[in-house]
């Protein structure tokens, strides 16, 4: 039996290169398989839907059989209320504004910019510590620990506890994966359990931060006195969990995808070594070319929407396939070419509209630092395995390991 297009996209054997399937998908800009979600894959349509107020991020708006199409969602409310990722205005706006207060402008304009020295120090330490330059796993030694250390410091979560919440974060990230073959009820239960544990862990931490506030974000969120008042404890827990998971499961893939792409484009790698400033446009192109969030599966129509001649009924689940839109030849010339000099890279990699990525400035800086330092310091780096083994997840896509060999580490 041949698999349907959607099954092929979600099928693990296609993980290392889903792009030909996306090309196929784009032939039907609004694609649907029997009773499944409406899958949108062309650039302009995705961008338009991101700004469409008839689309909700709250999956509780799904109706009928679509209410819980692929499992997971309905279980989590039991553990923690939905985070602002899955809420609509006005709650979304209020929670995001409150979370932003200790993080970014207008109230904390220097926080992320001020982390530059710390980011440099952390990445330097990790590269210094590479155990065996002749063969090492970039994911384990750099791409994973880097953003995790950063998000822990930012939030004020002890790095020592990492082993504990690593498992929860992975489980929760996996629950985002709309794998049609997995037993959804089962996975929902496991995810719920992980959320519960993570919630309990964070609750303890927040309790402590309330008593002994530091200058980390958790302390500031726990003691906030902005115009919106403080968050409730439950809101705070959901928000902290969201930040911790987002900080765990995304940037790791951007860094790894980045190094993989560079090793496949040695000329660009060589240029980056000479001009570290190239990292800036390069990361934007990378977010287009190999976006860590391949698709956004949690939108629901609040009204009938007509797009490209297809009428999507009210209450339907909609998937926005960012990675397909990013390679839409209608928008990007020669889309399958990795070109850090590409002008006007308005990619969809970090979303758009009111839910556009909250951690974007941090993710950008982290990846710029990581790639420019790796390019500068690794001597003659080579891929040991191409393609590398990928994670199961089709939504948060990236290599599970990236084995690299090099001749040494420059100071």
């Amino acid at each position: 039996m041949t698999l349907s297009l959607l099954h092929q996209i979600l099928d693990y054997s296609n993980r290392s290169n889903p792009y030909p399937l996306y090309e196929e998908l784009r032939k039907t800009p609004v694609y649907r398989e029997d009773g499944g979600p409406y899958v949108v894959s062309t650039y302009y349509e995705i961008r338009s839907l991101f700004h469409d107020p008839r689309i909700s991020s709250d999956t509780r708006n799904r109706t009928g059989s679509a209410a819980d199409p692929l499992g997971g969602d309905s279980h989590e409310e039991a553990a923690l209320p939905p985070s602002f990722l899955k809420l609509d205005p006005p709650e979304h706006d209020r929670l995001r504004r409150m979370t932003n207060r200790p993080f970014g402008p207008p109230h904390s304009p220097h926080r992320v910019d001020g982390m530059r020295p710390e980011l440099r120090e952390i990445i330097t330490g990790l590269i210094d510590g590479i155990s065996d330059p002749s063969r090492f796993d970039l994911v384990e030694e750099v791409s994973y620990p880097f953003p995790v250390t950063v998000i822990c410091r930012l939030l004020g979560v002890p790095r020592e506890d990492e082993a504990r919440f690593h498992v929860w974060a992975d489980t929760l990230a996996a629950s985002l994966d709309p794998d049609p073959d997995a037993d959804s009820a089962d996975r929902g239960k496991v995810a719920n359990e992980a959320r519960m544990q993570l919630g309990m862990y964070l609750a303890g931490l927040i309790e402590e931060r309330r008593k002994n506030p530091g200058d980390d974000m958790l302390s500031q969120l726990a003691t906030a006195k902005g115009e919106d008042g403080p968050m409730t404890t439950m809101e705070l827990l959901s928000t902290a969990a969201l930040l911790l998971i987002a900080g765990h499961e995304t940037t790791v893939n951007l860094i790894t995808n980045g190094m993989l792409t560079l090793l496949r484009h040695p000329d660009v790698l060589k240029r980056l070594r000479r001009e570290p400033g190239l990292a800036v446009p390069l990361v934007e192109e990378l977010l287009r070319y190999e976006p860590p969030v391949q698709l956004v599966p949690q939108r629901t129509t609040l009204a009938e929407i007509e797009i490209r001649g297809v009428t999507i009924p009210k209450g339907s689940p909609v998937w926005l396939v960012l990675a397909a839109g990013n390679r839409d030849p209608q928008r990007f010339k020669d889309p399958d070419r990795f070109d850090p000099d590409r002008p006007d890279v308005q990619h969809l990699g970090l979303g758009s509209g009111i839910h556009s990525c909250f951690g974007a400035p941090l993710a950008r800086l982290e990846t710029q630092f990581a790639l420019s330092e790796l390019a500068r310091r690794l001597e003659k780096p080579r891929l040991i395995e191409d393609p590398p083994p990928y994670r199961q997840n089709a939504v948060l896509r990236g290599p599970r390991q990236l084995h690299i060999a090099c001749d040494g580490i420059r100071p």
């Binding site: 302009y44 961008r47 469409d52 609509d88 006005p90 609040l302 009204a303």
Partner: protein, 463 residues
């Protein structure tokens, strides 16, 4: 001209003159070079400065985030032009194709672009307007002078007129801690552009921020002291207001006087042109060598019933400059109309106000998202059953959707539900414009397609 080489000659060694060296003039010059124009290019501007950006003059500059003499526009490419700055154009000879300059020079052209914009309408009483402390805000010199006046720590500032510029000035003055009175003839600020429903929100914003807002009144006279400094103003309600700085913000006058008598269709309402920015002469015949762009141009807009619109919007100046430059160098079939949906922004009292379309053409308004009380909302304007404009307060990320609605002539009132639709968004109400300019019922034009290259104008004749 089709294919006889005229165009090619123009591109290689023609002479293009741009009068008005500001936003529209500069962007047109850059576009001309971008499109391969290799001939001689002259920019004439009466201000002695290279092109600079005006929006910061009433915002960042007054807040000390920028300085008045440092808002020069970035150069997006080399324009390799002859700059005639500090000298005004004083006349046009359409027959001989020459522009006369104030210094007696004449500049010949093959194509002329007029981008002379507008100037602030001065206080109608000349003697009062000349008092020390009375000022308008249009140029960088005005802004520098106003900054100096504010730096001197005036006890009381009076702003006459609560349009966008007046309101922005009032906002900046409050933020700096000055005592501010705003006098507005209409019932609320911003009423002319956004109507009374949204104007009421603007009024609350001003009052909450400590502005002494007087609406429904006119300033009838300004009084000075013996030294010629302004001291107070008299209002039509019989009261008087003390003020050591008075900012006159009563709108703008088009810079077209220099064209009177030339035979070009230029008057106090601007320069009439076709949708491709070609200027009309006074006989109503379109010229083929004279174009207009920016605040001074009056163009029919296909999406708005071909009404002649003059838009004092930054984005309009850029869009028209590009269109005019393109069309100057194109055969007639390759010319493009100006069909961009107008858009505008203003920031005041910490709120980002943006609009798309032409709200002032609307007769009704519906709050589709958020609420007026929260100061975070989207209001949609309807006209004859279709969406014609939208305004957002701190809601910029939703406006692209409403722009698409306007382009598609979507029905008004919108029936669909949206995120954050509140009870006050159930039924449209009178948008409450003081004097709705009601155009006649005409054909409807819509835009279709998303990608820039497959955007099409679709014409739906009136029945």
């Amino acid at each position: 001209m089709g294919g006889d080489g005229t165009l090619d000659r123009l591109k290689r060694k023609g002479r293009i003159v741009v009068v008005g060296a500001s936003l529209a003039g500069l962007r047109a010059a850059e576009t001309l070079r971008d499109k391969g124009f290799a001939g001689s290019l002259t920019l004439v501007g009466d201000e002695p400065y290279e092109p600079y950006d005006r929006p910061p003059l009433s915002k960042g500059v007054l807040l000390g985030k920028a300085s008045a003499d440092r808002t020069a526009l970035p150069r997006l490419r080399n324009v390799d032009a002859k700059w005639r700055l500090g000298v005004a154009a004083t006349g046009l000879d359409m027959g001989a194709r020459r522009v006369r300059l104030a210094d007696g020079d004449e500049v010949p052209y093959d194509r002329l672009l007029i981008a002379t914009g507008v100037r602030a309408r001065p206080w109608p009483h000349e003697g009062e307007g000349a008092l020390d402390g009375v000022i308008v805000l249009r140029t960088r010199d005005d802004s520098a002078a106003l900054s100096r006046m504010l730096a001197a720590g005036p006890r009381r500032v009076l702003v006459i007129g609560a349009g966008f510029t007046g309101s922005e000035i009032a906002s900046a003055c409050r933020e700096r801690g000055h005592h501010v009175t705003v006098a507005e003839r209409a019932a609320a600020p911003l009423v002319g552009a956004l109507g009374g429903v949204v104007g009421a929100v603007a009024a609350e914003l001003q009052r909450e921020h400590g502005v002494d807002l007087r609406t429904g009144v006119m300033v009838t006279a300004l009084d000075g002291d013996a030294a010629g400094r302004v001291r107070s103003a008299q209002l039509s309600d019989g009261s008087s207001v003390r003020a050591d700085v008075v900012i006159v913000s009563l709108g703008a006058t088009r810079n077209t006087e220099w064209l009177y008598g030339s035979g070009l269709g230029a008057g106090p309402r601007g320069i009439a042109c076709d949708a491709g920015c070609r200027a009309f002469d006074i006989r109503g015949i379109v010229t083929d060598d004279i174009y207009a762009a920016g605040d001074v141009a009056r163009c029919p807009h296909p999406l708005f019933g071909y009404q002649f619109l003059t838009l004092e919007h930054w984005g309009n100046a850029v869009a028209q400059a590009e269109i005019a430059a393109h069309n100057m160098l194109s055969e007639s079939v390759d010319r493009v109309p100006h069909m961009e949906v107008p858009s505008f922004w203003s920031s005041q009292f910490g709120i980002n106000i943006k609009s798309v379309g032409v709200p002032s053409m609307g007769t009704e308004i519906l709050i589709t998202q958020g609420s007026l009380e929260s100061r975070r909302f989207v209001g949609v304007y309807g006209y004859q059953g279709r969406v014609i404009g939208a305004v957002g307060f701190d809601s910029a990320r939703w406006l692209p959707f409403y722009q698409e609605q306007i382009e598609a002539a979507a029905p008004f009132p919108p029936e669909f539900s949206t995120v954050d639709r509140r009870t006050d968004g159930q039924r449209p109400v009178d948008a409450d414009f003081p004097d709705p300019s009601v155009p006649t019922h005409g054909p409807t034009v819509t835009l279709s397609g998303y990608a820039p290259d497959d955007r099409r104008m679709t014409f739906v004749p009136a029945h």
